[in-house]
Structure formats: structure tokens, C-alpha cells
Symmetry: D2
Subunit: 406 residues, 4 copies
């Protein structure tokens, strides 16, 4: 379906060449100061045409808020919004239309619906993500205002070029021994703690490590010049998350994040905290021991869990990595088959991003915001309900949340 969320819900509509793309955001708390520019900032970061690394199409992507806000304050009612499509005509037929584009959604849409939009990828078009980014910006405004939550995503790899110290293969050669090095370098952990969107946007690739960023730029330009494309990964950190978010069984916080991330076009993988690399580390080393924090509350010494234990946030930084494949739409000719099975050559077509990860950064942030916001509201529902009950006096103390010791 086209709706995401339980209490904070986003429903989107629109494809490439229809009148507009848009969304309805339902369940936004009332009383939140909100203006178009809060939304526009992230839409502009998502927009094509920001550098020579992205497609030169210049889509203005101006958001029009329709409802749910008066005098700059949310009313608690649904917020309708839309962004007009510049080119609203269905595409003219060309010979390339005889071919389903390889690794694109042309063929599967026909299998699913029996009919498809004349042009672009229908709902698989990147333009569909506009509604998500807008909705995410609203969620984020709330999370920032109330909890000081910070959500920052950045490019952690392009092709085989990785930001140093992340997910590096273990150096030890004997696979049957334990690896000795740390899971993530101290520098990387530090980066997660401090990185800001300003840091990220300094580089057109949105990789915050200058030297790596420059190599990534070259790699993307090489793909572009070869009429080819290249994939990459995005890492995202969420700071200042309250503990207690996430539902312990089917809707674990990491499950919701994985769902959200894999719903972004072109994604192929998700890993939380130490991720796949962490599966290679013995429990004795991987466990995050508890420590008393300066404010007297409990925290963990390391954070290989990525801020989530048993599906529930523990107050530490949540961080995860998302893999994006190389864009399927490339300008070079491809040997493939037509819809009817006739083999042939699909010629070059259109202008497209050789690499989507720089533009996907705000989309990852948006989907993360939507997940956290919805879980905040769900946890509110139960926590408030529990807080109104009389104190529990009949249980052993180890079954009840103890008061904080300073």
C-alpha cells in the first residue's frame, strides 16, 4: 500500500509525468510551528541538478502546503502537500518502449498491474520520494523540537571506495581464528557522534571525509563518462533518541528501520550497529557492558548494538548502513529482450544519475524520521497509560524499573 506508519502516517501519490506528486501526513501533533521552508530545505537537498554528479534535469520541487496548518502552527489534522510536475505529458512512444529496461520495474509493473504508465517508472520513479522527504521533514521538526533528536546520513561508500575504518575486512588471515581488531575504529565512532548536515553537504558526494570524497567524485565521473553507473552505501546516525522505542516482537525498532530503508528505490541491504561484520565477533567482545553515565543513568561502554536491544532503543546512538545498487538506467546500449521475448539491443536513452547515493541522503534521513516519530507516538500511548496506574508494590524489586541513582 502507499501508506507508512501507524499513528504518524504518510500516504503518497504520484508518478513521473502526472499533474503532481504529493502526500498526506496524518497524525502530526498539534501545536508544532511549521512552515513551508522546514519542508523545502530537505526537498532541495533531494532535488536533481545540485552538482555535476547528478542528472542535469532542474526540477524546482516547490512544496505547496494545503491543509492542517494555520498561522504557522499545526492543527493536529492531516497535512496535505504537493509538488507540481513540470512535464505533465505522457511520453511519446519510441522504439525503446518495446524493451523492458533491465533491472528496472517496467516488466514487473506489467506483471503486477497488467498496465503501466507510459513513461518513467511509474511509482518506482524517484519522484515518488518527494512525499516521503516532505513528511520526514515534518517528523524531524517535531523530534528536534521536543527531544533534540539529530538525524544525519552521509555517503559511506561509492563502488569499492569506502570511508576509512568502516566495515573494513578483518586483517587476520586465518578465518578460523577470531579477528583481533575493533569492529569500528574509534575515529568512525567519533564521526557518528559529531557529524552534522553542514559537514555532509561540504562535499558534492556527501561523504564527510575529504580525501575519500574526492576519490568518490572521480569514481562517479568515470561512471558517467563510461555511460555507466555505480552504487554505494549510506550510513545514518540518530542521536538523542529516548529509550523505550520499538515494539519487541514483529515491530522491533530495527525491523521498522529495515522496512523503511528497503522501501527506498534501489536499496539492496540494511545493517544495524556492527551489522554483518559484527556477526564475526565473539559475544564476549561484542556485548555492550553497562556503565553509569555522568547524569547517573545507565548507558553502555561500547555501542555495537547500534542503540537497540531486544528491538527497543536504549538511548545510545542508533546507526545503520544502507546499500544502494548501481542505477539500472544507463546510457550505454544493452543486449536484452523485448517484452515479447525478441532479443535485441536497447539503445541509450535519457539522462540519469550515474550514482544515486548523494541525492539519497535526505531520503534515508526522512524514512528514519518517520520510523522514530511513529514509535515515539506509539510509546507515548502505552507509557502515559502506565504512568497513570498506581505504583507497583507487590513485585520483587528486580522486576520493576528502579529509581535513578545520582
Amino acid at each position: 500500500m502507499s501508506t507508512f506508519g501507524t499513528i504518524f502516517r504518510v500516504t503518497t501519490y504520484g508518478e513521473s509525468h502526472c499533474a503532481s506528486v504529493g502526500a498526506i501526513i496524518d497524525g502530526c501533533p498539534p501545536g508544532l510551528p511549521l512552515e513551508a521552508k522546514d519542508v523545502q530545505t530537505q526537498l532541495s537537498r533531494r532535488r536533481p541538478g545540485q552538482s555535476n554528479l547528478t542528472t542535469p534535469r532542474d526540477e524546482k520541487d516547490l512544496v505547496h502546503l494545503q491543509s492542517g496548518i494555520e498561522h504557522g502552527i499545526t492543527l493536529g489534522t492531516p497535512i496535505g502537500l504537493l509538488v507540481k510536475n513540470e512535464d505533465q505529458r505522457p511520453r511519446d512512444y519510441t522504439e525503446t518502449d518495446l524493451y523492458p529496461r533491465p533491472s528496472h520495474a517496467d516488466w514487473t509493473y506489467l506483471e503486477k498491474y497488467g498496465v503501466k504508465a507510459s513513461s518513467g517508472g511509474g511509482r518506482s520513479s524517484a519522484r515518488e520520494t518527494i512525499g516521503r522527504v516532505a513528511a520526514g521533514a515534518i517528523a524531524e521538526k517535531y523530534l528536534k523540537t521536543v527531544y533534540g533528536i539529530e538525524i544525519v546520513a552521509f555517503v559511506s561508500s561509492v563502488g569499492r571506495i569506502h570511508l576509512p575504518s568502516f566495515a573494513s575486512p578483518p586483517k587476520s588471515l586465518n578465518e578460523d581464528e577470531d579477528a583481533v581488531e575493533d569492529i569500528l575504529s574509534a575515529e568512525f565512532v567519533e564521526l557518528l557522534q559529531n557529524i552534522s548536515r553542514e559537514d555532509v553537504d561540504k562535499q558534492p558526494t556527501r561523504c564527510p571525509h575529504t580525501e575519500t570524497a574526492e576519490r568518490m567524485t572521480k569514481r562517479i565521473i568515470r561512471a558517467k563518462e563510461a555511460q555507466d553507473s555505480i552504487g554505494g552505501t549510506i550510513t545514518c546516525v540518530i542521536r538523542n533518541v529516548p529509550s523505550g522505542l520499538g515494539e519487541p516482537v514483529f515491530d522491533k525498532l530495527e525491523a521498522k528501520l529495515a522496512h523503511a530503508m528497503l522501501s527506498i528505490p534501489a536499496t539492496k541491504g540494511f545493517e544495524i550497529g556492527s551489522g554483518f561484520r559484527g556477526t564475526e565477533v565473539p559475544g564476549s567482545k561484542h556485548n555492550d557492558a553497562f556503565v553509569r553515565k555522568e547524569d547517573g543513568s545507565l548507558g553502555t561502554r561500547t555501542n555495537w548494538s547500534g542503540g537497540i536491544q531486544g528491538g527497543i532503543s536504549n538511548g545510545e546512538n542508533i546507526y545503520f548502513r544502507v546499500g544502494f545498487k548501481s542505477p539500472a538506467t544507463i546510457s550505454q546500449a544493452q543486449q536484452t529482450a523485448q517484452y515479447d521475448g525478441t532479443p535485441g539491443t536497447l539503445a541509450a536513452r535519457g539522462r540519469h544519475d550515474p550514482c544515486v547515493v548523494p541525492r539519497a541522503v535526505p531520503i534515508v534521513e526522512a524514512m528514519a524520521s518517520l520510523v522514530i516519530m511513529d514509535q515515539v507516538l506509539i510509546q507515548n500511548a502505552r507509557k502515559t497509560a502506565a504512568s497513570l496506574l498506581p505504583p507497583i508494590t507487590t513485585l520483587p524489586p528486580t522486576m520493576v524499573k528502579p529509581p535513578t541513582k545520582n
Copy 2:
């Protein structure tokens, strides 16, 4: 919440030491032959005590079907089922209860609920997965009966020991160049095509490659002897999936699978098809070109997409990999802190699996079944509706699904 699915829905209850764990399966098609043994087979594969690699607790895990079936045929009404807990007494208090177990859910449960079960991990206990495995077995029975769908999961790594040719790091040394080797070896692709549950169960580790399986066994025994634990990965393949499954935006088929997999306790990552490794491969090489299959229908030459394009199944094998962390519960002493922040040593406690991946194999299969089954029903809803409409005659032919050419 404790419910998974939209039309085929599973709701589970139960924790370690309560009267029973169970589930209600709602939306099962009527007319399906179903007996307790259909469910029991997978429950027994999930059960502890199957080899010296798993915990010696011998839980019988006999399923009791309560409703929704008469004379061995499903009625279309909810199927209630339960498995009794052998030990139903709340745990006695010990000094270890002063400590939240590191990387376990003790502390986050208290943060979420303000109260927690006296023993085990509450709902984070592996016993909660019994309901899922039972539900998955029912879904699978339908999928096998109607579509011949085969779902086979196996252990693809334990610690740093990997089944050959899967997700191996590229050999080329210069990261700025393209890698030249294939994404997955031909042998591995062949394995995905042919592997059966019988093959998998030949090894106690459930890794179908004998030599690797033996190294894995040693690795797990080493962890056990060190009172430590080790993680690993499971790969799962789903064969004979109809095309057209999955909802194109938020509920892409891979997003639902990721959600399902990350909802399994101890999971840390998910990747579909070529996964993270595939992000390093240029589009020209990664794209799956179309070919006419022997039966005249369209297929793809390679399958780096993992059977899903644009969030919709394309009829090729769906395969994905899931990462499981090293179990948090270890027998060796750990330096950590009590609930109140007092530093101390959490002594050894209990007997637990040093590695969960062999037992997690049927859980992965179950969650995969639940996702596919629900999507089959959802696609039925729309496909049947569309099929009842008059044929489309006013659209350009490239917008409409063409008849198959033989």
C-alpha cells in the same frame, strides 16, 4: 504490536515461563489439508537439544491445534495453536538479577514497560518464535500445494568462516578500479537453484558444504568451550514465486522481507540478491538482461536483483542473507553495572546456545513464508479485480501487458 501481516495475519503471545506460547493465524485460505504434523516438523527443527551444538534443554514443543480445522481441512476461520511451557514457575531471585545482561533486552524492557518478567527475556525469549514457526509452516503448506513454492534456508557463515564464493571480498587490490570477478560464483548460484532441506539437515550446523560445515562445527565448539558465543549468517532462497508480488512503494517485497527478518531476535542485517557486495559493481554489469525462457515467457539471464525489481517479484529465485549476532548470553563473567549503576561482575548463568544460526534456519523460513503468503493474498485481491474488467483497448500497446509468444 504482536501481529504480522495484512490478510494472512499472525498474532503471537507468550514468554519463557508462562503457561504456554501460542499464536492465532487469521486469513488462512479455506480448504487446505492441514494436520498437526505439518506444523510439528518445523517446530522440531527449531527445538533446542538437537545436537551438541545447541543448548541441552530438551523442550518437547508439541503443538496443540485449537480451532479453524475440521477433519483435517482448514475452515478459513482463525487457527489457534499453542505449545505448553514445561517450566511455568517464575524464576527465583538470585544475585544476578541485580544486573541487566549486557546486549540483552532486560534493561530496555524496563525502560519501555517499567516492569519485566522475572525470568528469561520475556518476549525477547527465543520461545516467542514458536508461534511464528507454526504459522510459517501453515503458510508454506499452502504455497507449496498451490504454487510449488520451495523455501530453503541454510547457514552461510559462522564467525569468519564463510561458505565458499558467497560475498567474498573482491580480489582486485585497487579500490578505485572496478572489480572484475563475478558477484557470486556459478557454484553458489547452482546451490541456490537446487538445495533442499534434506541437504541442509545433513549437517548439524545446517551448512550444506561439508568441509565448511566441519570447520563451523569446530568454531562453535570452541566458543562453547570458551564459555563464549559466536554469530553467523543464514542465506535463504525462495523458488517458484509467481511474478507480481509486492507493493511498489512502502511495502516493496524486499522491504517486507527485511522487516520480517530483522524482527527475528539477534538479527543485525539483511541483504537481497547481490546485496552490499553488489553496490560495488557498475550498472552495466549488474543489470539483469532479459531473455526468452523455454516456455516462451520472459526471464532474466543473471539474477543479481534477487528475484525482485521495483519491489515486485519477477518470477526468478528470491534469495537473501540475514546476519545474526553472537548470542548475548554467555557463561563467562562480564564486567558491567547493576541496574542502579553500581559497577560489578555478572557471573556465569544458565546454559545457552553458543551459536543460534543452526536453530534459526526454520525461523527464517517461517518469516519468509509469512511474507510471501500475505503478498500472494494481497495480489490476488487486485489481480482478480482487474481480471473482471473489460479488456483495455484504448491504450498504446507498450502500456499493456502483451500476450506471451511461444
Copy 3:
């Protein structure tokens, strides 16, 4: 929340004085011919200013379809649509704003949200129903095209003036005896079988019984002249509904219809089939005996069940009645209290419908369409799934649907 439906889902946004009101319709089957005029027809029936019985505000209510349709054919993707608000300025403050309007939503909105729109009733405004009517028209187009389903609502009472023979009080004087007359008159049953929207629209009151309609008109004009208002009821019939719709427990077809109808502003009651009056009739008389129909299938001799038994449609006409209170907004002065409790007189304000039932007719039809459409899709999901299973051969014949005898 602002979403209705499970597979065919409508989400609406918008209040009185924002930029637009609109909706996203998700889950519409692909391949349905659909144009703006299909939607506009019902929107125009809902629109104010149609006769001297309704408010003289002339809202044009032109629908703008945004997505999900190409060349007049639905794509199966979400259909976004909107209707612009003519007057988009927040209302100026007047002294009447010190008073919550009696029996209106002003005060409860503040209790719920802590903030409310400056003007109109926010989401309780009748303008919110535009999205529903548009969505219902799309559902109806499908239902009509595929099943020949006809949905016709009409005004069955205004104030104490009732269409003859409906829900008349029993004539027998002794309440302890059974009533002897029929539940509904033969003429009324005939009306349900044959009435069309053209019949309904012949009268400005939308009551298809001319003499009664004229009395209703006078009653409404009397209310208008008295600066007062009056309520009424709408009866709706749905013909040619396939059997098997509705989920047998919580989502019985009548429960969904009741939910849908009571979600329309100003509604106070719902009754299906023989309704409240039928509760007074003994089972021996109220039961609908089965008969073989001309086409050999099974039908019922009478239809006091209103086309639904056990929550599931049986193929007979579904009919129900909905009660609408007298509009709360009246022009005469009212003795009441301000938000702060100060007693006072709320002076006349605005121009409003003295009676909403004539305009509510298409809203009732729309909500009925949405319910039936969603249930059709849900039943498709299961029925198709069941039809793919091998025939049941092991059950006693009385447990299995028998073949039709001609």
C-alpha cells in the same frame, strides 16, 4: 485516523478555509476507465446551492485528478485528487468566537488538540466529505462496471414526516402481544427494488414519494424561516451485491457499514434490514426462508435480514437507514456559555443548511461504495486463494458448497 479501508483505502485532508480539500485513493484496480466527470457527477450532487432548501453558498467544487490515471485508464497506483477552496483566508475574529457553538465540534476539538482552526469546524466541516464522495464515485464505477451493483440512497424522513410504510409504529395497542402487520409494506420493498437516482433527484428533498416530498419541503422551509433546523433519515439500498462479502467476526459487513455511516458528520443512528422495528417481531415471522430462484440458485423469500446473514452478504438487496440530527448551526440566538464558562447569548451567524439530508444522499452512497469495494477486494484475496486448491474430497457433503442445481 483519516484513512478508511484495508485494500481499497481512502485518505482525506483539508478543512474549510485551507488551500484545498482532497484525497488519495489507494488500491483502485488497474484497467478501469475513469474520467473526472465520473467523480464530478456525485460531487455536484453533494454541492451546496442546488435548491432553495440548501445554503446559498455556491461552491463550484471542481475536481482535479492528479495521478494514477493515464489516457483515461487507471494504472493501479494511487489516485490523488483535490478540490480548491474558494475562500482560503482564515476567518477574522468576532465576538461569537468567544463561544463554543452548542452541539458543534468547537469545544471538543480544543479538548482533543489544544488548538483549532480559526474558522468553520475544521475537519468537522462538511467540506471534508468531498474527498469521500470523490473516492466513492471511483469505487462505484468499478462496482457498476464489473458487478452491475447499484447504490441508491434517498431521504426517508424529515423531522416527523416519514415516507409511508417505513418503520411505522405497529398499530396493535397491547405491547405485550405480537404485532400483526408486516415489518415493511410491500410498496416499500418494491421501492427498494426499483428506485433510481433519477427518481431521487426529481425532488429537491430527494424523497421519491411526491406527496411526502412536498410536505418535507414545507417542513424544511418552516425551519429555515424560523432560523432553526431539522433532521431526518436517509435510506440506502445496494442491489446486485455478490454473496460472500464481509468478515464474520469484528468486520461483519453491517458493522463496516455502520462504521462508515456513523463517520458521516451529524449522524446519530444506523439500522440494517428490518432494524429496530424488526427486534419486535418473533423469529418465526422474522426469519427469511430460503427458496430456489429462477436461475436455480438459492435466495430468500423475504429479506428482513437486509441482505446480510452472519455478517456476510447473501446476494439479496442490502438496505439500511441512517439518522441525521438537526444541524447544530442555527441562526437564532442561543443561551449558552463562553469557553471560559461565562454565560451569555451566542448571536446569529452565517448561512447554513436548515436540513442536511438532501445533500447527504451522495455521501451515504459514497461511504456505502467504499465499504462494498473494500470487501470485494478482501473476498477476492481469499476466494481466489481457495479456488487454486485441489477440490475437497474428504469432508461430509454438508460441509462443502454444493454445485448449483438448475
Copy 4:
């Protein structure tokens, strides 16, 4: 589906002759004292065999709590519960099985599922309501503990015998004039304010007006002796409901209540507040003027709205009426047709309640509890979220909730 609710969710399973009927209650707040007897009390009120007015089957209906509770305190995790069926054998075939019972669900179940339970009415059996009553008792325990909410249902009519002063037809003879008498008598309003379950249970009919109750008893016995059945209505009042509950558009509080009530087997109608009778009263008389209450807060002078305005609770008593048809299962012979259309006589069968309303009282209370509980949790989600935002300072004062004046 078999699930009801959004945050507080109940899922039920079971039919007449399977092993057990049961439910999973998900989303119960943690920390609530809860014992089996809290649930058993209402189950026993629902149980057959309580008086000579109900079926003599003596079902013990002992509840077995399975999970989610330790030491008598809820853990916040799902509560599984079940009640064993005494007679678990599928019914033997008899000649009556050739006939679908008129106005029962036998035929529609076959139309929906193609297969049905051998006996009883499958899920349309009254035994399905056991799970609801148990769940409702848990919800009610919370609502009572935290808010002092009181939910009391009682029988307001049997056949044509009505509790005095409720829904009486207006005395004025000219339908074109306004009725002059009050909508409900002062005595009835007083009854709603004070009635307790003890009052209700004093009479076997559960009608709290002794003289009427005795006439009802005779009416039911007359139906029983005639091997016939009779319907009736139940009125329910909910006191001490917090203001602000209910979602303003599709999920208005009255829409949720209507949905809940019409999901109870045999129900035919629902009306809230002044109901259908209120549609006949002009707005000037029907509007509930505001008054300052003794505690300084705002209330209404009358309460024809039934405690809900714009779909949102206003803190006044919520009251509504539900119509139940005469039971379809009667012991006298009926002229009808077999499944294959052959006309014939369905002979007497079984022992059944001649009137369900006395036993349906706790079911109505349970469904009401479930609706209110879920809405409390949903409103918690948003209200807590809003309360954490900075105070609104930029809006005109009439748009913001004012402080209470004492």
C-alpha cells in the same frame, strides 16, 4: 479479520466444537493488577444457564490466562487466554444438515468459504464472544482503575415491551408540527446517571425497571413455550469518560462504537444519544447548550448528543442503544429450502435461547470497553506529544484551549 483495535488489540479464535475458544489481548498497559477473577466475573454473566430464560446448556466457561501477567501484574506483553469447549466432537450428520437454517449464517459461510464447520454456526456461534468479553473485562479494569469509568448496559426492550420513557413515539398527532414533549424523560436520564450492574442483575431479564422486567419475563417465556424467539434492545451508558477521545473523521467515537456493536451477533441497529428519535427535534431544542460546571470546567445543560460532538467525547455520559433481532434458531418447524433448492420442512432442532438480550448485556459492555480503551491509548499518543511542545504564543486566543476559570 479477527482483530479489533489499533493499539489495544484483541484477536479471537474458536468456534462451537473445536478444542477451545480464546483470545490474545495485545497492548494492555503494563503494571495493571489483573487476576483471572477479573475476567471470570463478566464471562459468568455471559454464560448460558443462568436462569430459566436462557438455554439450559451449562457451560462452565472457566478462563485460563496463559501469558502477559506475573504475580498478578500485567507485563505489557500480550495476554493469551482460552476457555475450553466441553463438547469438542464435530457434530454427527442428521437430515437437518441438508437445510441451511433460515436467517442463520450456514449458507453465507458456504458462499464465503466454500466449506463450513460441521456443527453450530462456526464463528457465528455465540461462543466466539467469550474472547471479546474476556478482553473487555481487562480493558474495563484499566479504565475503572485510572479514570473511574463505569460501563453499564441493561435491557431496554423485549419485543414491543419498552422500558418507560425511552424512545417513546411522540404524542402529537400532526407529523408536520414539531413534537412538544422531551426527547427522553427526566427519569430515564436519571437512570443513566445512577444505574449499576447490581441494579441490572437483580432481574433475570436485566431490565432495571421491575414492572417492565416482569412483563418482559412473561414475553420471553411465551416465546419459549411457542418454540419461537423474540428480540429486544440493550441500552448502555459509559460514565466518567475523559474528553478528547475519538478521531474526527472516519474513526469518530460513535462510528467505532457502532462498528463494535454491529459486530455482535444478531444486532440490527445502533443509535447514539437521542438517536433516531432525536432526528425529529429542531436544532434549537436539540442543541446542548454549554454551562459552567461546579468544578469550573465546561459541561452541557442537556446531553442529547450522547457525550460525543464532532466524533470526540465531551466528558458527558456516553449512551447508546443496540437492537438485537429475534434469534434465528427456533424449535418450531420452518418451511424453507435445502442447499440444493429443494423445498421442504426444517424440523425442530436443539435447545436455544428464546431471547438473547439478557445474556448480551456483558458483550455490549465488553465491546464498549474495547472501543474506549483503544481510544484512550490513541489519544494518549497525541496528547502527550502535544504536551511536550513549547506553549503556543502566536495564535489568536480563540484558537487555543483556554485555562479553566474557577
